[in-house]
């Protein structure tokens, strides 16, 4: 599995990010996304189900077994998903660096 063909949505990006350090369940991903985005990004249940279903189909994440009494679904990142996340992070870093060089460079375009 390789790079995503187009930029990830914020929800997809945060779900992958919240799984980077180990398995996590839907509610944990939602809470951690709120913290990491400083309250800007919230992942509702419909969005979470659609995104996790799509990413499981793409082979970026997979479900892990959970204790029988626990109805929460635990997800983990696959190697392909890890690579997608790293590629997207690099792309965003590159974009941020480009924006910074222009915005903080101070030079005006020649007319």
């Amino acid at each position: 599995m390789g790079r995503p063909t187009e930029p990830l949505t914020e929800s997809y990006f945060y779900i992958l990010l919240c799984l980077y350090r180990g398995p996590n369940h839907g509610y944990g991903i939602m809470r951690q996304t709120l913290e990491l985005s400083e309250g800007h990004v919230r992942i509702g249940s419909g969005t979470m189900y659609g995104a996790t279903s799509n990413m499981m189909k793409k082979g970026w994440i997979e479900e892990c077994p959970t204790p029988d009494a626990d109805r929460r679904r635990l997800y983990t990142l696959t190697d392909a998903g890890r690579q997608v996340l790293l590629d997207e992070a690099a792309r965003l870093k590159h974009l941020a660096a480009a924006a910074e060089s222009v915005i903080e460079g101070g030079e005006k375009n020649e007319e």
Binding site: T9, E10, S11, H25, G26, Y27, M30, V41, R42, I43, G44, S45, G46, T47, M48, Y49, G50, A51, T52, S53, E63, R71, R72, R73
Partner: protein, 302 residues
């Protein structure tokens, strides 16, 4: 005071947000949804809790248990689903929480995905309705009847309405929120369509084609016909005889409602409006005509 009540309301799919607003308002008034449906919803009385509702449209859930578990993780309780893919959820309302807490789709992409799922169905249904309307318009030209007029117009209006609705649900920002609910209009058209189809079937079942082998020794022939529904009926005659014949449709007072005659190779149609009641269809040789010897006579009233 009653502890349960049933509401018979139909919300078009593109007005699902209006349905949510109504469900939330009912919950604030102490009526909690027990079972949601496309036409019929059941509520029970409970003033102790207020809920906020969510409606999801998803016909192709690959893992229904994981689907409901994902909602349960964020406090959504599954209520019921409908035959056509709508799922009702509720969450206990806490006025201190932000409104986003009660949204199940939280980014533009997933909102669009849900809208796309329904609009694909909507465009298909709308196109089917328009095809049905066209077929019924052709049927109408052949055999005008109140039922075929009603079915054709209802199909046409429903088709246009569903296509516009599919566009609205797909482009909520451009379309904006409709000022008035079209639920009553949708319900009326749907009812007209069902009634039109129902009575149309009854009508055509009773007046299917009839064929008589012509017996030249026994004119005239009279058949009694019973009409249960007021409507336009077409008398369609096809005769292949060697004598001139007349055919008349009369009511029980002897008033002639349709009349035609001819001989040899007769092909004719006449439209008449009939009220419920008994009518006589009479076939006889035309005045001054010698009885024929052979022939087949068919008539059809539909």
């Amino acid at each position: 005071m009653r502890n349960k009540k049933t509401r018979y309301v139909m919300y078009p799919a593109w007005e699902y947000r209006r349905e949510l607003e109504d469900l939330n308002a009912l919950s604030d008034a102490g009526w909690q949804l027990e079972k949601g449906g496309c036409f019929r919803s059941v509520f029970y009385r409970d003033e102790s809790t207020r809920y906020r509702y969510a409606l999801d449209y998803n016909q192709s859930i690959d893992d229904p248990v994981r689907y409901r578990d994902t909602f349960a993780e964020q406090g959504w309780e599954f209520i019921s689903d409908t035959f056509n893919g709508w799922h009702f959820f509720r969450k206990v309302y806490d006025p201190d929480l932000p409104p986003e807490e009660y949204e199940i789709y939280t980014d533009e992409s997933s909102v669009r995905d849900m809208a796309d799922r329904w609009s694909r169905l909507g465009y298909t249904l709308g196109a089917i309705e328009l095809v049905c309307a066209t077929v019924n318009l052709f049927a109408l030209l052949r055999h005008p009847s109140i039922t075929s007029i009603a079915v054709a117009l209802a199909c046409l209006a429903l088709g246009v309405m569903i296509l516009v609705g599919a566009w609205r649900i797909r482009h909520p920002n451009v379309a904006g929120k409709p000022k008035k609910s079209m639920g009553w209009c949708f319900t009326t058209l749907f009812t007209v369509l069902l009634l039109g189809m129902f009575f149309g079937v009854i009508r055509y079942t009773q007046y299917s084609s009839s064929e008589y082998v012509y017996d030249p020794d026994l004119p005239p022939w009279t058949w009694e016909m019973s009409v249960p529904l007021p409507d336009f009926y077409t008398l369609d005659v096809e005769a292949d005889t060697d004598a001139y014949v007349d055919i008349t449709v009369t009511n029980k007072n002897g008033k002639v409602l349709a009349e035609m005659g001819g001989g040899g190779d007769l092909r004719a149609k006449e439209v008449m409006f009939l009220l419920p009641g008994k009518y006589d269809v009479t076939v006889q040789y035309a005045d001054g005509t010698e009885p024929g010897t052979t022939g087949i006579f068919r008539y059809e009233i539909n």
